[in-house]
């Protein structure tokens, strides 16, 4: 049995080249947006903007500028987090979403029927429908490459090793050393998703961040959608019970009124 594998993304060395996006698209044969015609976002140098069904990797540009000489660029290559407790896998009604032997989360496109429950369940906004297949799609952590001993296309292409692939245990050790190194240099650095006792049992794609998670478009405490199930079901049951009682009380009142009226008694 292979050990859990994943990504450690060190955002401090990302240069925003988007080689990972291109490598991902090329390996996975993902279609171009808008028929391949260039599309400008209009308010950023980042023109692909977000993860979706045809962008399984996305390099986020965060432009923090207070003035022409006072600012910084934060860059983060974002991807599916391959959560240890995955919301998408939890809600998928077809069984299309599976956990692999590498502890990664994969959508089987031939099983998915495009109901889109996983899109709403993912706390990170990772999944979307691929308009070509009509099914929900996202990063597979290059399951096909892993099966034959290759590393994923994105980390292979990354020129600065911002995206590092390996066993989760080893990656965590490496990440903690990097955080210590940056803190010694006076940089405010934190790991996001590296704690196996943290949110969602840890993320198999975790990050080193130098600002708050929200700045990178990441929820501070991601949770499973099922957290709401018991409470929501209880309140619905209570509402149904109240309406049922009101219906029966109304019928009883009608019967009582009828007994005193011209139509006389009789059942109900």
């Amino acid at each position: 049995m292979p050990e859990p594998m994943g990504f450690f993304t060190d955002t401090t060395v990302c240069i925003g080249c988007k080689a990972c996006e291109v490598a991902c698209k090329e390996w996975n044969q993902l279609p171009a947006k808008n028929g391949g015609i260039g599309e400008l976002s209009g308010d950023s140098y980042d023109n692909t903007r977000k993860l979706d069904g045809i962008h399984w990797r996305h390099v986020r540009f965060i432009e923090q500028f207070k003035g022409p000489y006072d600012g910084r660029w934060l860059m983060m290559s974002d991807v599916c987090k391959h959560c240890v407790q995955a919301g998408c896998l939890e809600v998928c009604p077809t069984g299309a979403i599976i956990r692999t032997e590498f502890d990664t989360v994969v959508i089987q496109s031939d099983v998915c029927n495009g109901c889109r429950a996983c899109i709403a369940a993912c706390p990170f906004g990772v999944i979307d429908v691929n308009p070509v297949s009509g099914t929900a799609q996202k990063c597979t952590l290059c399951y096909d490459r892993l099966k034959v001993g290759l590393e994923p296309a994105c980390s292979k292409a990354c020129p600065t090793d911002s995206i590092q692939f390996g066993s989760i245990v080893e990656l965590r050790t490496r990440a903690h050393k990097r955080v210590d190194q940056l803190k010694a240099q006076g940089v405010k650095a934190e790991l996001y998703g590296a704690d196996p006792d943290g949110a969602l049992g840890g993320l198999n794609s975790f990050y080193l961040l130098v600002d708050e998670p929200e700045v990178y478009g990441l929820p501070r405490k991601p949770t499973l959608p099922s957290r709401n199930l018991a409470k929501s079901a209880s309140f619905s049951f209570a509402s149904a019970a109240v309406l049922g009682v009101l219906a029966l009380v109304g019928l009883r009142k009608r019967r009582m009124d009828g007994m005193g009226g011209p139509s006389g008694g009789g059942p109900n």
Partner: protein, 301 residues
């Protein structure tokens, strides 16, 4: 900011909104028909038969809307059976969309059986096969079907709200009250549909009077649950400072609940407004969340 603002919109829109409305209405109408079937008078049979008809048509329409909305409609059966391991069943008790697919299927079966039974009772079935099926659904069998179907009807009316809550989307996952709200709305719109449709099947004034009186109570329950829903959202309520908030306030609360409550003398007009309010409730709650996009939130747009 709630963590739900970083999720992606599932694009549940122009087939799902009518499905949520029709499914709720059909479930509510069947539930009320079943209550009258079990505890009503013989004079209520017209309402009972109308309720079963509305439920059967609504359940079939619901199934069609759900199927059309899929990215791959021909794979709708993957929700019921394991596609790679047929005929093993596909069922997740912790996933509302999974148990909801089964609930819709079973509700459709029970509502069609009840509708056939009611039509056989009236002698309105011409096709021998349907007449044979309808002939079986009478007496104790009809009561049993109505009892189970009534519970399924309430389930179908409410699970759609639970489905929305069991996500990570803004508004939907920020409150546990949507299921309860949709149950109340489903039953009130079901009663409204019966008030409008059953006079054509010969419903008596007493039956209609009970329906109208019940709908008033259901609307009060709906208003209270809606207040609890809004209260539970807390700071998330700023999302209602939008067109959808206006629609919720004016269309749902104003025209859909308060106006019908003041129109006792005109039950048919009140019922039409209740139906409008029920539809607008689904429209506002779904589209208010669908419009929130993760990357725009992060970019501060």
């Amino acid at each position: 900011m709630s963590d739900t603002f970083f999720s992606g919109a599932p694009h549940w829109t122009w087939f799902i909104i009518p499905y949520f409305f029709v499914g709720g209405l059909a479930g509510g109408a069947y539930f009320l028909a079943a209550v009258l079937d079990w505890f009503g008078r013989p004079e209520d049979r017209a309402v009972v038969r109308t309720g079963y008809d509305i439920a059967a048509v609504g359940a079939i329409l619901s199934g069609l809307l759900l199927t059309i909305d899929l990215g791959r409609p021909l794979r709708f059966w993957h929700m019921l059976f394991q596609s790679e391991n047929f005929p093993a069943l596909m069922f997740k008790g912790w996933s509302p969309i999974s148990f909801g697919a089964w609930a819709i299927l079973l509700f459709g079966l029970f509502s069609v059986l009840s509708a056939l039974g009611a039509r056989a009772e009236e002698g309105r079935l011409q096709i021998p096969a349907l007449r044979a099926v309808g002939g079986v659904v009478k007496g104790g069998v009809a009561k049993l079907v109505a009892g189970v179907g009534g519970l399924l009807g309430l389930f179908v009316a409410g699970y759609t709200g639970i489905l929305l809550s069991v996500t990570n989307r803004p508004i939907w996952a920020d409150s546990p009250w949507l299921g309860a709200l949709f149950v109340a709305s489903g039953v009130s719109t079901g009663a409204a549909a019966l008030i409008l449709r059953s006079p054509g099947r010969g419903a008596t004034e007493r039956s209609l009077g009970w329906l109208s009186s019940f709908d008033t109570k259901a609307l009060v329950v709906e208003l209270l649950v809606l207040a609890a829903f809004i209260w539970s959202l807390g700071p998330i309520n700023r999302v209602w400072v939008s067109f959808w908030g206006l629609l919720l306030l004016v269309g749902v609360v104003g025209f859909g609940i308060l106006a019908p409550l003041r129109m006792h003398a005109k039950p048919a007009q009140a019922a039409k407004l209740v139906l409008l309010g029920g539809f607008l409730l689904r429209l506002a709650t779904i589209l208010a969340s669908e419009g929130i996009d993760r990357y725009r939130v992060t970019a501060g747009l």
